[in-house]
């Protein structure tokens, strides 16, 4: 069966070009987002997940730069577009919502205006029509008293409401793809659950695709169809969400899953992954995780493992699974 993709990232390389040389923050990353699916990218801070998302939007912060690879939005390579063409993609075909709803809205502009601005940028409509659209989308994302909220300034709204405003802004032009960069990290858990539910509901209604970036496995499990685990700028494991949570193969993925508290297990202490994220300037030639890996073998620091398909759609970058000799199960 021919799978249709909204977004295909192929061998993306993005780096920070600093005075002390190139820092490879995203290294040969390939991610496929099937139409109508929710794809999660998970990993620790600094693993390159946000950088990957910003590369898709071509909104890398200085001195970040896309060094190679392609980003195909329904076949159109975003890396080849001019800045002008890219502006019509941003907010029109791809929208993004950010981690901090408290600071992501302009403090001196009414939230209604900020959302209608997005509508007017991409649709040839009048201010009055845009306002109607905004009120409609406000109701749809669960903002009560839409008329009143339209006139509100960001500081008058709670964090959950602001994130709803951000979602409304992202949704107003019916994008093909929504990128949510840690959309619920700054919110408390009850609000988080509401926002996640809303995103899922919007996906079901509109058929858009969503990329969700998170370090929170609970969020990923709740929402995603497919998951990519990133470590030190590379994808180390990818699978559909059930496979990933049922039978993770990469030692890092296992470590991540073990470090989540499960209420049904009687644990004395939460397990952690020893060590910390490696310095991207001084990565080993081989596997970047080997210094923290309990199963590291002699040649792990020298030889870079390739992504191996271990089951249909389940790929792992680890020497343990190569050739099927060892599969990482103790």
């Amino acid at each position: 069966m021919e799978q249709e993709y909204t977004l295909q990232i192929e061998n993306l390389r993005s780096s920070f070009l600093t005075d002390n040389g190139e820092v490879k923050a995203v290294n040969e990353v390939s991610i496929n987002v099937p139409k109508g699916s929710i794809v999660g990218i998970v990993g620790e801070s600094g693993c390159g997940k946000s950088m990957t998302a910003r590369s898709v939007m071509r909104l890398l912060k200085y001195p970040g730069k896309i060094m190679g690879g392609s980003i195909l939005l329904e076949g159109k390579d975003l890396t080849q577009l001019s800045e002008k063409e890219m502006q019509s993609v941003r907010g029109g075909e791809i929208s993004m919502i950010f981690q901090e709803p408290m600071t992501s809205l302009n403090p001196v502009v009414k939230v209604g205006k900020q959302v209608s601005e997005a509508a007017m940028l991409h649709q040839n409509i009048s201010a009055a029509e845009a306002k109607e659209l905004v009120l409609e989308i406000f109701r749809r994302v669960g903002i009560s008293e839409a008329e009143k909220r339209y006139e509100s300034f960001p500081h008058q709204l709670s964090g959950g409401l602001r994130q709803r405003v951000m979602i409304a802004m992202a949704m107003i032009c019916r994008p093909k793809l929504l990128i949510a960069d840690e959309p619920t990290t700054a919110l408390d858990v009850t609000v988080e659950a509401q926002i996640l539910k809303l995103m899922k509901q919007l996906r079901d209604e509109t058929g858009m695709s969503i990329i969700i970036i998170s370090h929170n496995l609970g969020v990923i499990a709740e929402l995603c169809d497919y998951v990519y685990v990133m470590y030190a700028g590379r994808v180390v494991e990818e699978a559909d969400v059930f496979t990933l949570f049922e039978s993770p193969r990469h030692p890092y993925t296992k470590g991540l899953l073990n470090s989540v508290s499960a209420l049904e297990l009687e644990q004395e202490r939460l397990e952690t992954i020893p060590g910390s994220v490696p310095n991207l300037r001084r990565l080993p030639a081989g596997c970047a995780f080997c210094a923290r890996c309990a199963y590291a073998m002699e040649y792990c620091p020298e030889q870079l493992p390739q992504l191996q398909e271990v089951a249909h759609g389940h790929r792992v970058r680890c020497h343990l699974v190569e050739g099927g000799a060892a599969n990482g199960e103790e």
């Binding site: 502006q87 941003r90 901090e100 992501s104 001196v108 900020q114 601005e117 940028l121 991409h122 300034f153």
Partner: protein
């Protein structure tokens, strides 16, 4: 919003009354007898006493104060000792010139300053940034009288492009406005550049870009309004330095303005004239700050009181 503006107006009135009192007492504390100064060496003690009595300077300070305050409330600042004309008349005569100078200087300072700041922030560390910041450093570090004399020598004396001094036409005000405004332009440009660079790092700038705004749209519609908040404060503060700078500029360029009137009043110990000029200038500065405060309330919804 109206309530906060009203309370600011009330505060403004208190400041003006306070300054009026301060000027009065300061002038009485300062050593030197006004009448003796006016008469110079020709005066004997009897004449000085007679003149003092005529001017009301022999009365107790609280009587003098009462006369001064009640007069000022009616717009009567007394009669100039040296020029023998009502202070009010002199003020109204010089006021237009000072306003012309200050407004031109403020325009030079604020328009050029803000534009240079925006361009410099856009081309951070580039050629234009260095040029603009160099000019702004010159402006900030050179005293007004020095800039004035350099301009007079080069543009007026050597190149004959503009008149050296005097005159009432707009042309005569160009050099004084540049001399007076350069300093303010320098600090405004620097502040605009740094706050704009800071604001451009904010998350909501990313949001605006993610919406599909162009760089220009992001700056004009989202960054500038936030970056202008501290700049506006500085502009309000600069009003007083523009008016005090006008004292020097008017003297160097021979403009008949309030600043020059104040200088004459100081050197001649002309108490009513000095009280009048200082009070008048105070009112201008305080009103300027009031306008800035009101603008602040309009620009930044966060400081508006909830209705």
């Amino acid at each position: 919003m109206l309530k906060s503006i009203a309370s600011r107006i009330g505060q403004t009135l208190i400041v003006i009354v306070g300054v009026a009192m301060l000027i009065f007492f300061l002038l009485r504390i300062v050593p030197g007898n006004a009448v003796a100064t006016m008469m110079s060496e020709h005066a004997d003690a009897a004449t000085i006493a007679r003149i003092s009595a005529e001017l009301g300077l022999d009365k107790p300070w609280y009587v003098q104060f009462w006369i001064y305050i009640t007069g000022a409330l009616h717009g009567d600042f007394g009669t100039s000792y040296a020029l023998h004309r009502p202070v009010k008349e002199l003020l109204l005569l010089s006021f237009p010139n000072t306003v012309k100078l200050a407004v031109l200087a403020a325009l030079v300072a604020w328009i050029i300053g803000v534009l240079a700041g925006i361009v410099a922030a856009q081309k951070k560390n580039g050629f234009l940034d260095r040029i603009f910041m160099g000019f702004s450093l010159l402006g900030v570090s050179m005293p007004v009288f020095m800039v004035a004399m350099i301009l007079q020598y080069t543009i007026a004396y050597k190149l004959h492009w503009l008149p050296i001094s005097g005159g009432d036409s707009l042309k005569c005000f160009i050099l004084p406005a540049i001399a007076l405004g350069w300093n303010s332009a320098g600090s405004i440009a620097r502040l605009t550049r740094s706050t704009l660079l800071e604001v451009l790092q904010e998350d909501y700038i990313d949001t605006a870009r993610a919406k599909g705004r162009s760089q220009m749209g992001v700056i004009v519609l989202h960054a500038l309004r936030n970056a202008m908040l501290p700049v506006l404060t500085m502009m309000a503060l600069q009003l007083s330095s523009l008016l005090s700078g006008a004292v020097i500029t008017e003297t160097v360029f021979g403009i008949n303005g309030i600043g020059r009137l104040a200088v004459d009043a100081i050197s001649g110990r002309d108490i009513p004239l000095l009280q009048g000029t200082v009070l008048f200038t105070t009112v201008l500065v305080v009103l300027g700050n009031l306008v800035a405060d009101c603008l602040y309330t309009v620009l930044d919804p966060r400081i508006r009181k909830e209705a």
